[in-house]
Each structure stands twice: as C-alpha cells, then as structure tokens.
C-alpha cells in the first residue's frame, strides 16, 4: 500500500510540475523567437522573466522524475519482472533519445546565455522544447501500454515485445500525448495570464510587458481549450470497460476476469468517477473564462484596466492543475486492480522488499518532496511577484570584488 501511495505522490507531483514545464517551455521558445527575429527588447526581457520561472519549475520536475525512474525497479519489481521486456523499451528511448538531449541543452541554454550566437541560443530552447514533448510521448507510450497492452506475447510468464509499431502507435498513448500537450499549454496559458493579471492589478509600471504576456497567455488558453477536450474525449473509445462500473460492458468484463483470474473487485473504485467529474467541471469553468478572454482579447487597453477580470484570471491559475490531477486520478485509479490491464494485478506488481524498508523510504521521500515542493512553489510565487527586473537568468554576470575575498587566505 505504501509503495502505491509513494509512487502516486511522486508521479502526481512530477506530473503537476511537468505540465507547466511543457507548456511554458513552448511559450518561452515562442517569445525568444520573436526577440531574436525582430530584436525586440520587451520580448527579450519576457524571455528572461518567464524563462526564469520555467527553470525554477523545471528543477522539481527533474528530481521527481529521476526518483520515479528508479522507483519502477525499487517498488515495482514484480512489474519489471513480468512486463520489463516491453515496458522498459519506451523508458529506455525516453532517457536516451529525449531526456539526454533535453537536459544537456537546457544546461547550455541556461549557462550559455552570453556565450553563444543568438541564433544558436534560440535553436537550443527549441530543441529543449521538442525533446521535452518527445519525452512526454515516450513516457505515455509506457503508460499507454499499461492501460492497453499491445504488441507483445507471453513466454514463461513474462511479456516479450513483438510489435514495436503497435506499442508506439497505441491509441491510449498517442491520444493521451496530445491531451497532455494541450493540457500543458492550457496550464502555462493560465499561469502566464494569472501572473500578468497580478501585476496589472497592482498597477505595475511594466504595462507593455504584462499586457503582451497577458495576451500570449490568453491566446494560448483560447487555442488549447478545445483541442484538450477533443483529445480527451477521443480516448473514451479505448477506455477500459471496467472504468465505468454501471455499464453492461463492465459487468461482462468483470465476469470474464473473475472466470480467468478468480474473484476480486474488478470494477473501478468510486474515486475514478469523482476524478472524471472534477476534470469535466474544471474544464467547463475554464471554457467560460476562455470565452470572456476571447471577448476581451482584441482590446489591449481593456486588458490592462479591467480589475475584475484581473482577479478572475488570478483565481483561474489553479484550474488546469485541478483538471490535470483529476484526469490523472481517473486514468490511473480507474485501471485498478490492474497495473498492466488484464495481465498483472497491482498487488502482484510489488517488489519483494521488507515492509520496514518500504516504510523508511516512504517517509524519507515524502518528507523531502514535501519540503521541495513547498520551497519551489514559494520561490515560483516570489519570483513571479517580483517582476522582470529581478530575473537573473541571462543577466550579465554580477560584478563582484573577487580579489579581496581571495587574497587573505594565503
């Protein structure tokens, strides 16, 4: 049980931060493109300010992701033994083809601000963005296979990959990828609009900066609010029958499972429906906000002045997060009692490790991540509040009197 809660907490916090990472990377890349092509100073400052928030947010995504990769082996030994032959392949591709380049180039982008040709520097953020999406795709291929196993054969109780194409084009992976892609953009759009609204509400002197940021945020919201629901809805064609406990299909499938695997509670827990309902409700509120935004978007001065609207946008920042988490609960809780649907039950997927060790590691990681998420959320808010002048990312190196501090030591 603790293994499950631990993995859920790690994956959940990873997912929350990664959603903003994906969307914000894209918007930062767009802003840097405008800054580079037109030489516009305001866009260069926007790149640095929003880029700084992106980097703060990225740090949590990366460490939770690292831990998660190892947790597959640490906590879910039963799953790697049974499904590792298939499940491992997309994870390997994620690390080698996508994450390796993403991380290497992100370091180059952060630290190489004044050392690289500006076009080369622009190319870096685009590579970082695209490999981040590639990364998300491979992770969802792995997850999609757990939801709907395809392209494998069972030999001696272990799954073998037989059809890579089927695994890579699994609709539960591809549709979920686009759903998450637009979900990430929606998160970043609301985040940007909300932070901009905060500054405009406080009558900032940086009117042009935040009016433009607000417009990019709102435009992103308007453009992604429909695709996100389309790709979400399309997934229902492939949803597991037992996810909808009231239906005839669910009863039939549960009867089939009982015949094959013995009695168990094969219908999805009640939390699943709550997840779906919460996600849909959050989306309905988001589309209403998007409609207001659509009316206001053509009028720049109205965006700067409407104080009620500013409050609305600030309040709307958590909406995509709520929807993301609720959707994730719907997807993952709804698959229970299975880890690999119809193949491996969650209780059989666990590692063969003593409960004492599991408890210790659970307490240690939970405490560490709680501190981490707390500190990073605080920093995100702090840097968002301080505005563009406090952005140190890409700023010229601070001139510090290095010599006197060094001299006396010898």
């Amino acid at each position: 049980m603790l293994s499950r809660v631990q993995f859920a907490l790690t994956a959940g916090s990873h997912f929350l931060f990664v959603a903003l990472t994906l969307g914000l990377a894209t918007l930062v890349a767009v802003m840097q493109t405008r800054a580079t092509v037109s030489g516009s100073a305001v866009h260069a400052r926007m790149t640095r300010f929003w880029g700084q928030l992106y980097v703060i947010n990225y740090a949590v995504g990366i460490v939770t992701g690292l831990v998660m990769e190892f947790q597959f082996g640490l906590n879910w030994g039963g799953m790697t033994r049974m499904a590792g032959g298939v499940f491992g392949a997309p994870l390997a591709m994620e690390t080698i083809v996508a994450f390796f380049i993403e991380s290497t180039f992100l370091g180059l982008w952060i630290f190489g601000w004044d050392r690289l040709n500006r076009w080369a520097h622009l190319a870096l953020i685009w590579v970082v963005t695209l490999t981040a999406y590639l990364s998300a795709y491979f992770v969802l291929v792995a997850n999609g296979w757990l939801q709907r196993p395809v392209g494998y054969e069972m030999v001696d109780g272990a799954a073998r990959l037989t059809d890579l194409g089927a695994v890579m084009t699994n609709p539960t992976a591809v549709l979920a990828f686009f759903h998450v892609l637009f979900g990430g953009l929606l998160t970043a759009g609301f985040f940007m609009a909300g932070v901009s609204a905060f500054h405009l509400f406080r009558r900032t002197a940086e009117v042009e900066f935040f009016r433009r940021s607000m417009r990019i945020g709102l435009l992103t919201v308007i453009l992604s609010v429909f695709p996100v629901v389309v790709f979400g809805g399309m997934q229902f064609a492939h949803v597991q029958p037992t996810k909808n406990p009231g239906s005839d299909d669910a009863a039939a499938k549960a009867a089939e499972f009982t015949a094959r695997f013995g009695p168990d509670d094969y219908l999805a827990p009640g939390l699943t429906d709550a997840g779906l309902a919460t996600m849909v409700m959050a989306w309905v509120v988001m589309i209403l906000v998007a409609l207001v935004a659509l009316v206001k978007l053509p009028f720049g001065r109205w965006l700067v002045r409407g104080r009620v609207f500013h409050v609305l946008m600030m309040l709307a920042v958590p909406l995509p997060y709520v929807a993301m988490l609720a959707g994730w609960v719907f997807r993952e809780v709804g698959r229970q009692p299975w880890t690999v649907y119809g193949l491996l039950k969650t209780k059989d997927a666990l590692s063969d490790v003593s409960p004492g060790l599991i408890t210790t590691s659970f307490v240690a990681f939970t405490a560490l991540f709680a501190v981490l998420i707390g500190v990073n959320t605080w920093l995100l808010a702090r840097y968002a509040r301080r505005g563009p002048d406090a952005a140190r990312l890409g700023a010229p190196a601070p001139v510090e009197p290095a010599a006197p501090a060094l001299a006396p030591t010898f």
Partner: protein, 248 residues
C-alpha cells in the same frame, strides 16, 4: 545483440562515473575548496554548466538497464534497495542545494544550501562506493563488500580535486593543486572499478528476450554519436577556466 547492449551500458555507466564523479567530488570538498560563501559560489560555477549534462548519463544507464536488462534491474534495485534509496535521496538533496543556492539572497540560506550540497554529495559518493563494493564482493543483496567498499568514496573526492585544479583559477586553483590529483588517472580508476564490478553481475539471465533488447541496444548505439556531440558542444562552450560566479 546482448554484447552491444553490454558495451553501451559500460559506456554510459563509465561516462557517468568519470564526468559526474568529478562534480560529486567537488561537492564533497566544497568547504575545503571554497573557504567563504563567495568562493564557494565560484567553485560551484566550475561545475554548474556540466552537472545537468553529467547526471543524464546515469539516467540513460538506468534506461538501458530497464530496456535491455530487466533481470538486472531487479537484481540491483531490489537486492540493494537501501543503498539506492540513500543514493536517490543524496542526489535530490544535492541537486536542490545547487539549484536553490542563488535563489534567495541571505547568508543563512546559502549556508543551508552549501550544507545540502556537501551532505548530498557525500551520501551519493558513499552510496556508490557501497554499491560498487557490494558488486565486487559478489552475490546477491547486501554483503561484506557493502561496508568494505565505502572507502571508494575517497576516489570521487580526489577525482573532484582533479576537476577543480583544471577548471578553477588563481588562489582557488592553487589550493586544489596542493592535492596531487591527476584527473585522467582517477577517472580511469573509477571506470576500472566499475568494469570489474560489472563482470560480477549475473549476465546470463539478465537480458530481456524479444525485441526490447534489440530496440534498446540499436537505438542507443545509433544515437550515441549525437549525444557525444551535444556533450562536446557543452564542454567546448565552457572550456575556459572559471573566475567568477555563474547563474547558480
């Protein structure tokens, strides 16, 4: 195909130990290399552009294990569970220290982050030393080597000094120069230890059957030149010695 996958695994694990081993070593000796907070920031600047690119070698190593050697994943992670938990905790604490140090301008905050970097680096190095020791001693799970291997952590520290000698300048570099630490030699030592430890692993039943092994091995081999080029670009960009703080 299994041979190709093993070679790839050796390349990635070796690259991790040589590259990240040095920045872990610098983290372990942070208070020795940098006496004041300002000096320590310069020491961190010596590894800052690289640590992200260094640790991905380990992430990819884990990816190759997951894709090509699911049997090994279980042998290592479940068998050495406590060591890998310490390793991960140390890794997270250290990275957070590095990321967060420059975010708040207060002496107490920097002290806390320095402590996190040092403690995390030591935890990481000791966990690796213990993992390598356990494998060298052979057998499954924790054994006498888990303790006997701990002194191997010193190798990381000396390797870090080698990097500091080569990256820093002025008084900081002179301070590092007092330790005789030849970077290529300590790097080679780390790789040798890892390779010998690798020969003790149960390869016979480790490899995955079916296309998973092939896909992972071939993809890795094909992409490797691109990855090396990307890393070379980073090293080329930041090839100069460091005498002032960077973003972190």
């Amino acid at each position: 195909m299994e041979i190709l996958a093993i070679v790839m695994l050796a390349v990635f694990a070796g690259a991790y130990l040589v590259l990240a081993g040095a920045d872990i070593g610098v983290g372990m000796l942070l208070p020795v290399l940098g006496r004041s907070q300002q000096e320590r920031r310069v020491v961190i600047a010596a590894i800052a552009p690289f640590f992200l690119g260094n640790e991905v070698w380990l992430v990819s190593t884990a990816g190759i294990v997951a894709g090509a050697f699911p049997g090994l994943e279980h042998h290592l992670l479940e068998g050495l569970f406590p060591l890998f938990v310490v390793l991960l905790l140390g890794w997270v604490v250290r990275d957070m220290g590095l990321w967060l140090r420059g975010r708040v301008d207060a002496a107490a905050w920097r002290r806390m982050c320095d402590a996190a970097i040092v403690a995390g680096s030591w935890a990481l190095a000791l966990a690796w030393a213990s993992v390598l020791g356990s494998l060298l001693a052979g057998g499954e799970g924790l054994n006498v080597g888990s303790v006997a291997g701990l002194p191997l952590a010193a190798l990381f520290a000396v390797h870090g000094v080698g990097l500091a000698r080569w990256r820093l300048t002025g008084a900081l570099s002179a301070r590092a120069d007092r330790f005789p630490a030849p970077y290529p030699l300590t790097g080679a030592a780390l790789v040798t230890v890892a390779l010998v430890a690798g020969t003790r692993l149960p390869w016979a039943d480790a490899a995955g059957a079916g296309a998973g092994l092939t896909v992972t091995a071939v993809t890795t081999a094909v992409v490797l030149p691109v990855l090396v080029a990307a890393q070379a670009l980073v090293w080329w960009t930041f090839r100069g010695r460091v005498d002032s703080p960077s973003y972190l």
